[in-house]
Structure formats: C-alpha cells, structure tokens
C-alpha cells in the first residue's frame, strides 16, 4: 500500500497494561513525516484523599468497549483536520490503578509547535468530555464514582468559539 506522507498517523490504544512514554515517543517520532515538534501529555493518578486517611487507595476505570475506540479515533481525526498534524497517539488505561500510576498518554507531532500544543490540548479536552470512560475512587472500604466537572465542559467548549 502506498503511503501518503501528508496523512496524520493515528495510533489509538485502550489497555489495562501500563505504557512507556519513551517508546511511544520514539514510535511517533519515526512515523511522523519530518516533525519539528512533539508534544506529550501524561495524566497520572493523584493521591485523591488527604494524608492520614486510612486504607488502600485505588481508581477503577470502566469504559464502553467499541465506542471508546470510535470516540478516540473521532477526536483524533478532528484534531488532524483542524491543525497540520503529522501523527498522533492516544493511549488510555482501564481497570484498577493506584496513586502515581499513569492513566492516559496523548502525543502529537507537527512541523509547528503551536499546532502540536493546541492539538494535544484539544484531544485531552474532548477525551475528558466525549470518550466513554468512568472513574470510581476507592479509599479503604469507601467507594464512590467520580463526578464530571463543569470546568472540563467549559474547556472543551472553548474550541467551538476559537479558530485555534
């Protein structure tokens, strides 16, 4: 198959396994055509309760298999059509995670640094509001579903009103 050098190479992965930023960066760097800039975002599990709280903390990520991959692909496609991106990787973990573990990686390659930064922010903003993932926090024997934040919706909506 002939390869179109102008295509944005999109890698989407939804997995329970951890990922390695160095490997993902190397892959994108060599796949993308003559990139001048690569922006990476990594989201990690924070200690979500104060010190002194007892019991093991964990975060369990549920998702909607099938729709998740479709939603992430759609977000990546929109980013690639809005900015001149040469490659983009989205990895999101599911299952049980503990504090300091990695949850999500977004890597964006472009010949322009502003496009790489904007593309990565755009993908993160829409990932938070359109990709079917749900977090449940557990601390000791207390479990509760994380509630979505209005600020995430505000961040996503800013892209509708701005050109970049």
């Amino acid at each position: 198959m002939a390869v179109d050098d102008k295509t944005c190479r999109i890698n989407i992965q939804v997995q329970s396994d951890d990922f390695d930023l160095g490997s993902e960066y190397s892959r994108l760097r060599h796949q993308a055509d003559n990139p001048g800039a690569i922006v990476s975002f990594i989201g990690l599990v924070r200690d979500f309760i104060g010190e002194g709280t007892e019991g093991e903390q964990s975060l369990t990520l549920e998702h909607y298999p099938g729709m998740t991959e479709k939603a992430l692909q759609d977000i990546a496609d929109r980013a690639c059509s809005r900015w001149p991106l040469s490659g983009c990787t989205i990895i999101h973990r599911v299952g049980k995670l503990v504090p300091s573990e990695q949850i999500v990686a977004v890597l964006v390659a472009s010949s322009h640094r502003d496009a790489a930064f904007s593309g990565a922010e755009f993908i993160m903003d829409y990932l938070k509001t359109e990709a079917p993932f749900w977090k449940k926090q557990q601390a000791g024997d207390q479990a509760e579903w994380v509630v979505s934040r209005a600020s995430d919706y505000q961040r996503a909506s800013r892209w509708k009103n701005s050109k970049h």
Binding site: G43, E62, Y64, M67, M124, K128, A131, W134, W145, V147
Partner: protein, 84 residues
Amino acid sequence: MLTVRYFASLREALGCEEENITLEQKDNVTVSDLVGLLSARGEPWDVLQDTGQVLVAVNQSICQRTQPLHGDEEVAFFPPMTGG
C-alpha cells in the same frame, strides 16, 4: 430487537448491565420514547429522564434524545464521562 446497555454509576443504580427490548411500534420512534417506556417502571428507572445526568449513545455514537430508533440498534445510557 434493541440492545440496551447501562454503564458506571447508572448500571449500579439500576442493577442492570444489559437488556433486550422489542419495540411494539416501529415507525417514528425516538430515544425519548424508549426513555418513556423504561421510566414507566418507576424508581430508580425514572432517573433516565434527567438529561443532565444521563447521556445516550445509539450504535456507539453520542446522540440527542430526538434520535430515531428503528428497533435493531444498540442503545447505551450512562453518566457524563470522567476519563483522562
């Protein structure tokens, strides 16, 4: 036959992960009609009417409640996403 799926806190609140529903009427049916049918079961099912707390996807794409249903779709209900 519709496949109806529930996720996350909604799945837990309803105590249901997936069910099959056959629409009696096949024409001019929308997601809203399905919600009406399910809400008629009473608590806790009436939470489905809350459009701020419950989102809908038909065939794995987010949609409005005005979305038509032909009777063979996968319909999913879930709370606002909290990934990332």
